[in-house]
Amino acid sequence: MALSRRTVMQGGLMAGLGLAGGSLTGLPGVRSLAFAADKSVEAPVGTLGAGTLVVVFLRGGADMLALVAPADDPDYRAARTPELRVMAEGPKAGIRLDQTLAPTLDFRLHPDAAPLAELYAARRLAIVHAVGLTDGTRSHFVAQDLMERGIAREEDLARTGSGWVARWLGEGGHGEGEQGRVPAIGTAAAPAAALAGLGGALAVPDLRGGLAPPGGPQAAAVLAALSRQGDGAYERAARAALGGLSAVDGRLPRGTDGKVAAYDAEGGAVYEETEAGRALQTVARMLKMDIGLRAACVDVAGWDTHENQQGRFATAVGQLSRALAAFHADTLRYERDLTVVVMSEFGRRLRGNRSQGTDHGHGGAMLVLGGRVAGGRMLGRWPGLASHQLDRGVDLAVTTDYRTVLSELIGAPATRGFPGFQGAPLGVLRG
């Protein structure tokens, strides 16, 4: 990767070299297996420390009971048609997971999640099941708001304006961040709610066209002057955008024609042209810029499968799994300082509906991926799927608060991200 003319001009010394915060460990393509402890041994608890966290949010309420499920559980088989189940046998059988969560049950991954099964077998991926909100909501929008703000009760929504990632990174107010640093990005067009309140956070869906303000240096000069006129929301946003965008743009390698060079992924990674693929490629590219990236919020839509779930879900699972595997391969030399967590606002109803779909449910699963993850394990407490074990008689119960997982990942002081929450860590990360 060559230094671009712009980068040199802006004096970004380490830009383009792919060094993240000077904390590089490991080598491309070489996995550190020193921590591959026996899965049955309780691992000591770790935290991300100064590493980077990528939060992949599956919008719409992903049916985790069709992604990771006890394929041989009679209650599961009775509640769902084969189209809505992970199968224990047959041509579309799921991929068996070694696990101690419920040793008598045959937990399997959806067959289109084969890339995730490999990461699980390589002990880079842990799965926390029966996890979610303790609040009783089945509303997408209430549940997403609660999770993005890192709270558990609807009455706290009105007094919690900031996002949990913003509080974790600790800047709180509406400052504009450190010059030339981008501590967090969202890959949706609208700013990520979990980053609300964080100065310097950027919403950057795509880097491929560059991020310089339109209209050249003249427009940039005018915009800079216009944005200093006052301190309203528009002026603040304009200043943050001008600073952050030029910092990122200046680090994008360019060809001789001035166009942003195509991204050269490492480790043989191939990002597909999907929402997850594009977004995770953007995150990888930012990560390698030495721009101080600590968190990235990635949205992946398409999980609200009330109707004809089978094909849509299989497609979504395949795209997500391949994107996560590509990201993992591409960022392997960062893996000691990089963790990905995949979550959704709720799981879906155990019983299918007559539209060959599933309606809004409660408990779901979270996936945690990275070099620090004590992977190859399923964590949490499995509540069972008999009627009396279900939440309100219909949905997978929540036995692990979603904040348990997230607060372990961000470590002390966890109260900053999740005020008032105290939960014993599950041991998702290695010590």
Partner: protein, 531 residues
């Protein structure tokens, strides 16, 4: 009412129209009651009986063409042509084949109804005399959001949804509006009610009917109560809100509401394939129900269960609050004052059986003291930004594929928001870094006619050479309809490296380039981006 005399028309047109327009014919602003008179006209638009628009809009709609191009495929020939907006006047049965798998249809044909509807939306936003109606059509499209960029059947149904549901009811009665939405092909597909059957009903539509279309999330009390009878007021048939048990029951009430989409009826029988709404008694869950504390007896007449749910939703006090909060948020401020919402909600409830219920509420909001008092509490969304720039700069806007693509990239893909909540209506959603960049790019692209949407008629506005400062001032007057701000003028001149008295020569390339850029820069100032 008190404060209305003090509102400059440009401020009103920023909120109740897509911005002020040079030579706005309705702005008889010299009269103290001009706003009330303007509202009288705007709230009873003079539309001909077939719902057609004013002549200027009709002329633009007739002249508009969008490119469509795709290679030959399995079952179709290659196409590469500029095609008129041919989908827009069609009935559902003419468009429904675009949703079918057989015979196969090329992807761009499936997306065509959405593109055409978006183009027509831009035309109307810029050119329509009935600006307030257009603002409300935009509001209702988001309130009753469908995603036409997803399933082809939603796209096929969009022109009919826009014309016969949203536009027809935008100023009308909410209860009638609810039923038009519930029975629309677009919503039936989007929220899956067409596949809902007795036995395990599909809850998608029923849930969003309560949470988004009607009572609102503040009335969703599921975290507080597990049983319907525990909800305060439920035992006297007037619950404070709803819980999942109401969603389950309402979903049962709407079973059998479906579309003629060819679905099997048992044996060899199938529904026709027209895309029209229909009711299939055999799919309906006929037994007794309980919704919002009211008992429904078993075996009601066709569609009566669903209609009764719509009645209960339309009449609930939480619906009045939810809808009036949303209207005030659209028209006034992200966080509208509680007193204004309460005033609007009273009007909403009092006029709930009136055919012009919505128009009355909008009028009450627009004539309220809060409406006159609050300024610049909204950030324009990209559609508003584009339309208001075209109106202020005097661009005779012609929508093109390229402009529609830019609008998609701005974050406001019209009729393409995936979740049923619609495009966000709070400013923070539109102020992300990349979104700011797209916003500025839209303005420069329009000013410089980068997407062939129509040039600014500079000769008409700048007949003689003038100093750069005067040009910046004049553009502010045209775009904002108010006094120029010296700080904006100074910022633009400094950034462009122009002395205040540097003469700009219209008609020369250098002069015109600068005049166009100054227009875009004026529109990048905070003032133009707020309303």
């Amino acid at each position: 009412m008190g404060g209305t005399m003090t509102i400059p028309p440009a401020v009103v047109f920023g909120r109740l129209a897509f911005g002020p327009r040079a030579a706005e014919p309705d702005a008889d602003s010299g009269r103290p009651d001009w706003l009330a008179r303007w509202l009288d006209r705007q709230l009873s638009p003079d539309l001909s009986s077939d719902g057609r628009d004013d002549p200027e809009v009709e002329r633009h709609l007739a002249a508009a063409k969008l490119r469509i191009r795709y290679p030959a495929g399995d079952g179709w020939e290659a196409v590469d042509e500029d095609r008129p907006l041919a989908c827009l006047g069609q009935p559902i049965e003419a468009l429904w084949p675009l949703a079918a798998n057989r015979p196969a249809v090329a992807g761009p044909e499936r997306q065509r109804p959405r593109l055409e509807t978006a183009a027509a939306t831009l035309i109307r936003a810029v050119h329509s005399r009935w600006q307030l109606r257009e603002v409300l059509v935009d509001f209702w499209h988001n309130h009753f959001n469908v995603n036409a960029a997803g399933e082809p059947a939603v796209a096929a149904a969009l022109p009919v949804y826009d014309r016969d549901v949203i536009r027809r009811h935008a100023l009308g009665n909410f209860r009638a509006f609810l039923e038009a939405v519930a029975t629309s092909s677009a919503m039936q597909v989007y929220l899956n009610n067409r596949s809902s059957r007795a036995g395990a009903a599909n809850e998608n539509y029923a849930r969003e009917l309560f949470e988004l279309h009607g009572l609102g999330r503040d009335a969703y009390l599921n975290a507080l109560y597990n049983r319907w009878r525990d909800v305060p007021g439920a035992l006297r048939g007037a619950p404070d809100g709803y819980i999942d048990q109401d969603v389950y029951e309402a979903a049962r009430a709407f079973t059998g509401w479906t579309l003629e989409d060819g679905a099997g009826l048992g044996g060899d029988a199938r529904l026709p394939v027209t895309g029209r709404f229909t009711y299939v008694e055999g799919w309906h869950d006929t037994y007794q129900k309980r919704v919002l504390g009211r008992e429904f007896d078993p075996f009601q007449s066709p569609m009566d269960d669903g209609r009764r749910v719509l009645d209960l939703v339309a009449d609930h006090p939480a619906t009045a609050r939810n809808l009036c909060t949303a209207l005030c948020r659209r028209l006034v401020a992200d966080d509208p004052p509680a007193g204004l919402v309460a005033l609007a909600a009273r009007g909403w409830t009092e006029s709930r059986s009136k055919p012009d219920q919505i128009a009355r509420v909008v009028r009450a909001i627009a004539l309220s003291p809060d409406f006159a008092r609050i300024r610049d509490a909204k950030v324009k969304r990209p559609l508003e930004l584009v339309a208001s720039f075209a109106r202020g700069a005097g661009i005779d806007l012609v929508p093109t594929n390229a402009l529609l693509g830019e609008l998609d990239g701005s974050g406001q893909r019209l009729f393409g928001w995936p979740a049923p909540v619609g495009h966000p209506d709070r400013m923070e959603a539109w102020l992300g870094a990349a979104a700011m960049r797209r916003r500025w790019s839209l303005l420069l692209g329009l000013a410089e006619n980068r997407w062939e949407t129509g040039a600014i008629d500079l000769a008409a506005r700048f007949p003689a050479p003038l100093p750069a400062a005067a040009a910046a001032d004049r553009w502010q007057g045209m775009l904002h309809g108010g006094e120029p701000e010296p700080t904006t003028t100074a910022a633009i001149l400094a950034g462009m490296g122009l002395a205040a008295d540097a003469m700009l020569m219209p008609g020369t390339k250098a002069g015109d380039d600068r005049l166009r850029r100054i227009a875009a820069f004026v529109a990048m100032a905070p003032r133009f981006n707020q309303r």
